[in-house]
């Protein structure tokens, strides 16, 4: 059973439909007691980092997510949800993240060749950095997934699983022990994305 963490940010409709499509039971909840019953958790998120982290803290879900992750429960962060797994973010100020993974979120602005558009919107190719990545085990080198973001994670060598090219090398997915993250949207990435979710829900030893 997959628990999708609802903290009032973003649209969870597609995520829920995606798990249904791959035959995995999933529910959306903002209640830690309910979410604790799930075998694995998904932390979604769109919008601004500061606002999202604030909402997560206000609901007490920040501590819950950290506890659950530290107890070994598989956790998948998606888009902003992935960014929040890291130490901090420099999106409009400086905000602390959940600190589950080492790395910082930085703006694309000023770091990309000036002719490239920001946000990075569209389908881009995945390049595997960690050949043993579990959630990418059914994804071929160069397959496309759907991105929408203006900020990206740097300094995350320890967990880096795949990158994509957009003028510079952009962190596309991360993985460390039971913690997973996708900068792209697997729920919007056609069959490739559904394959990634399938791997996430697979039982492992």
């Amino acid at each position: 059973m997959v628990g999708i963490i609802d903290y009032g940010v973003g649209n969870l409709f597609s995520l829920k439909s995606s798990f249904k499509e791959i035959g995995a039971e999933a529910f959306v909840s903002s209640d830690p007691q309910e979410l604790a019953k799930a075998d694995r958790l998904v932390l979604p998120g769109v919008g601004a980092f500061g606002n999202a982290v604030e909402k997560l803290r206000a609901s007490g879900l920040d501590k819950f997510v950290v506890e659950q992750a530290n107890s070994g429960k598989p956790l998948l962060g998606i888009c902003l949800g992935m960014q929040m797994l890291f130490d901090d973010s420099f999106e409009y100020g400086h905000h602390e993240g959940l600190g589950l993974l080492r790395g910082s979120v930085v703006p694309m602005e000023g770091r990309l060749p000036s002719e490239l558009k920001i946000p990075h919107i569209g389908w881009n190719a995945l390049h595997k950095v960690n050949p043993n990545s579990k959630i990418l085990s059914n994804v071929a080198e160069g397959q496309h997934v759907y991105f929408v973001h203006s900020f990206y994670v740097t300094g995350c060598e320890e967990s880096l699983a795949s990158t994509t090219e957009y003028g510079v090398s952009i962190t596309a997915s991360v993985e460390k022990d039971n913690i997973y993250g996708c900068q792209f949207h697997p729920e919007k990435s056609g069959q490739v994305g559904l394959n990634i979710l399938r791997e996430f829900v697979k039982e492992r030893d």
């Binding site: 919008g47 558009k117 920001i118 496309h144 990435s189 056609g190």
Partner: protein, 252 residues
Amino acid sequence: MITKRIIPCLDVKNGRVVKGTNFQGLQDVNSPVELGRFYSENGADELVFYDITASSDGRKLFADILTEVASTIFIPLTVGGGINTLDDFERVLGCGADKVSVNSGAIRNPELVGMAAKKYGDQCVVLSADIKRVDGQFRVFAKGGREDTGMEALSWIKRCVDMGAGEVVVNSIDTDGVKQGFDIEMLEAVCNTVNVPVIASGGAGCQQDFVDLFKKIPTIDAGLAASVFHFGQVKIPDLKKTLFENNIPVRL
């Protein structure tokens, strides 16, 4: 490298997909749910649904159908038509839309673009502009291309992007339905004006029209069309292959 997107557009009225020529002479084509799934599984990079129903009954039917479509496709879904308020954004986002396209609603109340961008993020707000040449000027038209607003199009688009529109769909009324190719001159002018993704619409008749679009305007992001896809004159997997052979980056 980011790929060029191919986007089928489905105009929905009373629960059915329709597409006219030059916005007139609507013709029933297919079921939105069937067509949506078909495109999603056959190479479309994104789908656009336009609600062209005027009545509230039609609007409710559209919401039901949208929910059904959104729960069966796993590519980005943009919804437009009848978006006049933040409540309208809420309504279609709640049915599973990823992005919301505004047109006449933004013309009536330009503040809508900024308010929506602030609430849902720039990536969620798509400005759709119907443009026609009038007295040597690109002019914005409202109400499905029927009414000349008198506004110059490039400054209107720039203003909306400055307020937070994250993408722009440019629909040339001059080339729409004519099937003689996209409006390269108009699209190039828009691409030179803003630095957000620009989606070309109006005029596609064959595969070569898409090749010309991406070759002539390297900064354009996507090509959108309706009837050439619905009637099978252009099959998206074949089109993607042709684009790839022409060194245009696409998702195969």
